[in-house]
């Protein structure tokens, strides 16, 4: 009796699956056919992105990229969804390929891979789908249909170093890195160079936590640094850096006069640093992924997709910048920072990419 | 006649196995009613039916004359049926009161009123002469006391029919005497008791009537005053049982086991065997008598290669096996029935067949070239199960599911079938019923008669007296004396085991200094 019922259920399930499968099959070839730069009926341009495991609310570059895409969408009257703009989040490294593929199959004209972790996946998909237009942030993929976007993180970090060196009261500042990879090392190198240029006597304490997603590690590292006398910590550690903020805020809560500051990274992290009426965020080194994403999307929409090229954004073209300090940095220091910035833009100072 | 409990024609099946087949048990108010049967006869099943843990397939249960349907233990509790389990169900680091009220807390606005509970426990304890301190922690009180806590637990919940499941299994003789007094007091106060046991002595001492079951079937009910242990034993086993083991004269030949000046330390490094000398010859059973903890465990482990030897020498049939690995010792011709069959003798989660192969699995014909042939294991198991009367559904049944006696028979089958020159039997009958004890003793004697050497370690005086051809008394890590069973008495042995070697003090001292 029970058996028969289940047999029925099972066949229903199977039937629905064939139906579903049939729908899928119908769609796929059609969608796959109109990828690439072949214009759709109303010349609407659509764009999407794949995040790494961070997600679009990582308060960092995934979020920044998504903001750029949303702004692009608004400016061009696009809706979120097929034919407009969208994103997919990855749960693990193995998901990049599938997510990129899914978006291309849904007919997006340009698909971004956000983050160096996606380098391999973007390269592979670019080869499999030569008609698709792809872009990658923070890495270089040498394929004719991929635009590679890099940033001069060192230039922004340099200004952060200047700010830290001039604002420190203890003569000691800290740097918390995620993993020791080229991107993060550029931050470190720029930060060190900035401190050195502004005040060679200031000591820089550098620590790598080995992870971008371990807030508790960030917190203990910050605790060690503050306890050892540092008063400003610059983090380039993604979600690990949230722990740096937590530590600073806890210290500020216990003692409102505590002299602890954090310099944020990628996005303006001012909101992260709020403690009651005060704030521990000195400033943030902005990596304007949003600007870059917006820029590349616009180029592609206008038929100028920089496939096969590597575009580097720096201080000059507002690819990197310092966030508004909201009064935390004094006027005279801001003036000095501006001076250094002009020298970099003018090419009088070349900021090193690696720590020597 | 008024019965408080009537279980009429109860039938309980597990798959194709009938655990209870048409059993009837009628308990009168205010009596101690013993339920007697071998291990695995179906006593526990019947009681679990009464306690609501199993639902019977047939039959009827009446409590105080009314037919009831006991669907779970809560119903049983409400009917005033309480069970004192063999394995106590107590929380070690809780107090007596806390354990008693656990799951039955009296609360005042959500807060447990411990003081009130404690008073009630104290009052109950005094009423039945249990002498329990309500505020003591379980881990601090003796096993006998813990059992009284279990009794209190049932009384606290208002039980007036108490089931005692093998209550004396883990008690000292003194505690057993006290328990019997408590049971008599309970009955005087109007309670009724069902006593599950296979110990005939207890039944004769305490019960009013006895219901006997055998192999899942009810044999009948007799009045204790009108019967005797012999009759009870044959009713239980189904044939005439000999209490005195029958054996012929021993004809010892050349030496098998020779231990010279053996010194062994326990895991803490404390010397437990101190220069021990012992000899066991072909065709004799040597019994080691002694109180637990005098070095018996370390001695066996040293012989079998499980423990490092600190000094001295062990030879088997002239071969030096001192410090050899267990397998080397086994292959030198030693069989071993370990004292803790659950921990050391069996892999309880393995099928009984695998357990029977535990010493031979790596040899041909079972294993060839690293490949094991389970069908050979099954063949071997079937043969030994048949030959040693191991009662099990099949050789694939997990060892855990067998009764203690059948587990032990399987171990003996495994060890004896390998035909070892020396068989070491450590507490081979612990926890077993008379039928199984008789079987095991006769196997040991059979080994001797076939010219093998047997070393028997036991804490039970009558076992040592009955089975051994020669008795070596161990005290404080040394053999302080050797006696012949026919030349000694329990009293003398008892004194020797306590270290009072009056008879040969001087000789003994000279020998071992």
């Amino acid at each position: 009796m029970a058996k028969r019922k289940f047999g029925l259920g099972l066949s229903l399930l199977l039937a629905s699956s064939t139906l579903l499968a049939a729908c899928g099959e119908e769609e796929t070839p059609e969608v796959a056919g109109d990828t690439g730069d072949e214009p759709t009926e109303e010349e609407v341009f659509s764009v999407a992105m794949v995040t790494d495991v961070g997600g679009i609310d990582d308060k960092s570059f995934n979020q920044s990229a998504w903001e750029g895409i949303q702004r692009f969408g608004e400016d061009n009257n696009l809706e979120q969804g097929d034919g407009g703009f969208d994103y997919l989040q990855s749960a693990s490294d193995a998901d990049y390929n599938t997510n990129l593929n899914n978006l291309i199959r849904r007919g997006f004209d340009l698909v971004f891979g956000i983050g160096f972790l996606m380098e391999g996946a973007v390269a592979e998909i670019a080869q499999q789908q030569p008609e698709a237009q792809l872009a990658i942030i923070d890495a270089v993929v040498e394929e004719p249909n991929v635009a590679s976007v890099l940033f001069k993180e060192q230039e922004g970090a340099f200004l952060a170093g200047v700010a830290a060196a001039l604002m420190t009261e203890t003569g000691k500042v800290g740097f918390v890195g995620g993993m020791e990879i080229p991107v993060i090392e550029r931050f470190e190198a720029g930060f060190r160079a900035g401190v050195e240029a502004a005040n060679p006597d200031v000591e820089v304490d550098v620590q790598y936590t080995g992870a971008f997603d371990k807030a508790e590690l960030g917190k203990t590292t910050a605790n060690r640094m503050y306890s050892a006398g540092a008063d400003i910590i610059f983090h380039a550690a993604g979600a690990t850096g949230n722990g740096v903020f937590t530590e600073a805020k806890e210290r500020k809560e216990q003692d409102p006069d505590a002299n602890v500051w954090v310099i944020g990274v990628d996005a303006d992290q001012y909101d992260q640093g709020a403690v009651g009426d005060t704030n521990v965020t000195l400033t943030s080194v902005l990596k304007r992924v949003d600007n870059a994403v917006y820029d590349i999307s616009t180029m592609a929409m206008n038929g100028e997709f920089p496939g096969g090229e590597t575009i580097v954004y720096g201080l000059e073209d507002e690819g990197v910048a310092l966030a508004d300090s909201r009064g935390a940095i004094t006027e005279d220091v801001l003036a000095q920072i501006e001076e250094f910035k002009q020298q970099i833009v003018a090419g009088e100072i070349t900021v090193p990419e690696t720590v020597e | 006649m008024e019965y408080v409990i009537e279980m009429l024609n109860i039938r309980k099946e597990f798959g194709s196995f009938v655990a209870n087949d048409d059993i009837t048990l009628q308990v009168k108010k205010g009596e101690i009613h013993a339920l007697l049967g071998e291990n695995g006869a179906g006593k526990s099943t019947l009681m679990n039916v009464l306690f609501g843990l199993y639902q019977p397939e047939g039959g009827e249960i009446r409590v105080r004359g009314e037919a009831v349907n006991i669907t779970d233990p809560n119903v049983a509790n409400k009917l005033g049926i309480g069970m004192v389990h063999q394995h106590f169900m107590l929380v070690e680091n809780f107090t007596v009161t806390e354990n008693i009220i656990l799951g039955n807390e009296m609360t005042k606005a959500g807060i447990v009123d411990k003081r009130k509970a404690s008073k009630r426990v104290k009052k109950l304890s005094e009423q039945y002469g249990l002498n329990v301190d309500p505020n003591a922690k379980i881990e601090d009180i003796s096993v006998g006391m813990q059992q009284r806590v279990e009794i209190l637990k049932t009384l606290y919940r208002g039980a007036d029919i108490l089931i005692f499941d093998e209550p004396t299994a883990s008690l000292t003789p003194q505690e057993i005497t006290e328990l019997i007094q408590i049971m008599q007091r309970l009955v005087q106060e109007g309670k009724s008791i069902i006593l599950i046991t296979h110990k005939l002595k207890e039944i004769m001492d305490v019960s009013d009537r006895v219901t006997i079951i055998r192999k899942g079937q009810g044999v009948g009910t007799v009045v204790t005053a009108e019967t005797n242990p012999n009759e009870l034993a044959s009713l239980m086993v189904g044939r005439q049982v000999e209490f005195k083991t029958v054996k012929g004269e021993a004809f010892p030949k050349d030496t098998v086991l020779l231990i010279e000046d053996l010194t062994v330390a326990d895991y803490r490094g404390v010397e437990k065997v101190k220069g021990l000398n012992l000899e066991v010859r072909h065709g004799e059973i040597v019994g080691i008598a002694g109180i637990d903890g005098n070095g018996q465990t370390e001695l066996i482990e040293a012989i079998t290669g499980l423990r490092k030897v600190k000094g001295g020498k062990i030879t088997i049939s002239g071969k030096d096996v001192t410090g050899k690995k267990p397998r080397k010792v086994t292959e030198a011709g030693v069989g071993h029935i370990p004292q803790d069959r659950h921990k050391h003798g069996l892999v309880l989660d393995f099928p009984i067949g695998h357990n029977i192969a535990l010493q031979t699995y790596y040899q041909a014909p079972i294993s060839k070239g690293g490949v094991i042939h389970y069908e050979k294991i099954a063949e071997q198991a079937k043969r030994i199960i048949e030959k040693y009367d191991v009662r099990t559904q099949s050789e694939a049944t997990p060892a855990r599911a067998l009764s203690g006696g059948n587990q032990q028979k399987a171990i003996i089958g495994r060890e004896v079938e390998r035909d070892p020159d020396l068989l070491i039997a450590a507490l081979p009958t612990r926890g077993l019923d008379v039928g199984a004890i008789e079987f095991i003793h006769s196997r040991l004697i059979e080994q001797r008669d076939r010219g093998k050497a047997v070393l028997l370690i036991s804490f039970e005086l009558d076992e040592v007296m009955n089975v051994s051809d020669r008795i070596a008394v161990i005290y404080d890590g040394q053999i302080i004396d050797e006696v012949l069973p026919q030349d000694t008495s329990e009293q003398e042995l008892g004194l020797l085991m306590a270290g009072q070697s009056d008879r040969k003090t001087k000789a003994g001292a000279n020998e071992h200094v």
Binding site: A91 | D349, I372
Partner: protein, 348 residues
Amino acid sequence: MSNRTTNLLVPVLAVVLGLLVGAIIMWVSGYDAIAGYAALWDGIFGDLYRVGETIRQITPYILAGLAVAFAFRAGLFNIGVEGQLIVGWFAAAYVGVAVELPKVIHLPLAILAAAAAGALWGFIPGLLKAKFHVHEVIVTIMMNYIALHVVNALIEVVTGGSERTERIFPSASLRSPFLEALTDYSRLHYGIIVALIMVVVMWFILDKTTTGFELKSVGFNQHASQYAGMKVDRNIILAMVISGAFAGIGGAMEALGTFEYVSSKGGFTGIGFDGIAVALLGMNTPIGVVLGATLFGSLKYGALNMPNAANIPVEIVGIVTAIIIYFVAASYVIRLLIERAARKKEAK
């Protein structure tokens, strides 16, 4: 009700219940559950590409599950599968990029290197457990962290400062143009065959060899095994070594199939930890592991399509898939309910 119907009914009911509760969660959160499940189904079986990718996802789960199950059968709780898998991944990728050899040598060599690396990573906790009675759970957890950071450092060393190795030579690759063409350019690779061979290997070791008998015996009861003359220490180490080798081969699947390189990791892959659930779902039997891995891998991969096609956020998707797995794992509760219902019926 017969045992066989119950055995069939239980997993089916478990999945159905899991789907139901998952649907309620989607509805309560304001998402279309039917569209969600359609997307899930479509994400697993929708087209050949997805079927290929689903099988690819299942492959490492099988091996991680085997690793956990094997240790479990020997009474050991190997939490270190994750670390063993990571070192295996690195070893295979390293052999893949360091030399170029004929495929018949190169590919087996790379897989063997992964097995050896995983085995080494299992050997250490095995040795510590056997000789010094250090609990394997503690050691294996720590070995996971060591694996993660050592591999990250090694990648930097062998690549001269990069966070990612080159692609392996095609001679070491498990990828196959044939399978890719068959599945519309999915990353399906021959690893699934390797994984299934390992399933047979585990079955053979456990159920056909003398060593397997000893391992199981030691797993159930070390004391009795020692009494029976088995070398307990040796068996513990051996169990961990074989378990580690399975995990290492799991890493090779990623190195030689899915990714064809190894890159610095900011955190664990999660495959090793999921392997624990896979093994338990499969009741630590080789066939069970295949079924557990299939469920796990399908849900993991199919779930990617839920945000894609039904706009359900990944967080909700994560909860829904976890609930389905949870119900399958808790299927003994369902078994209990069925048995109770059956008993009631009989009683009447």
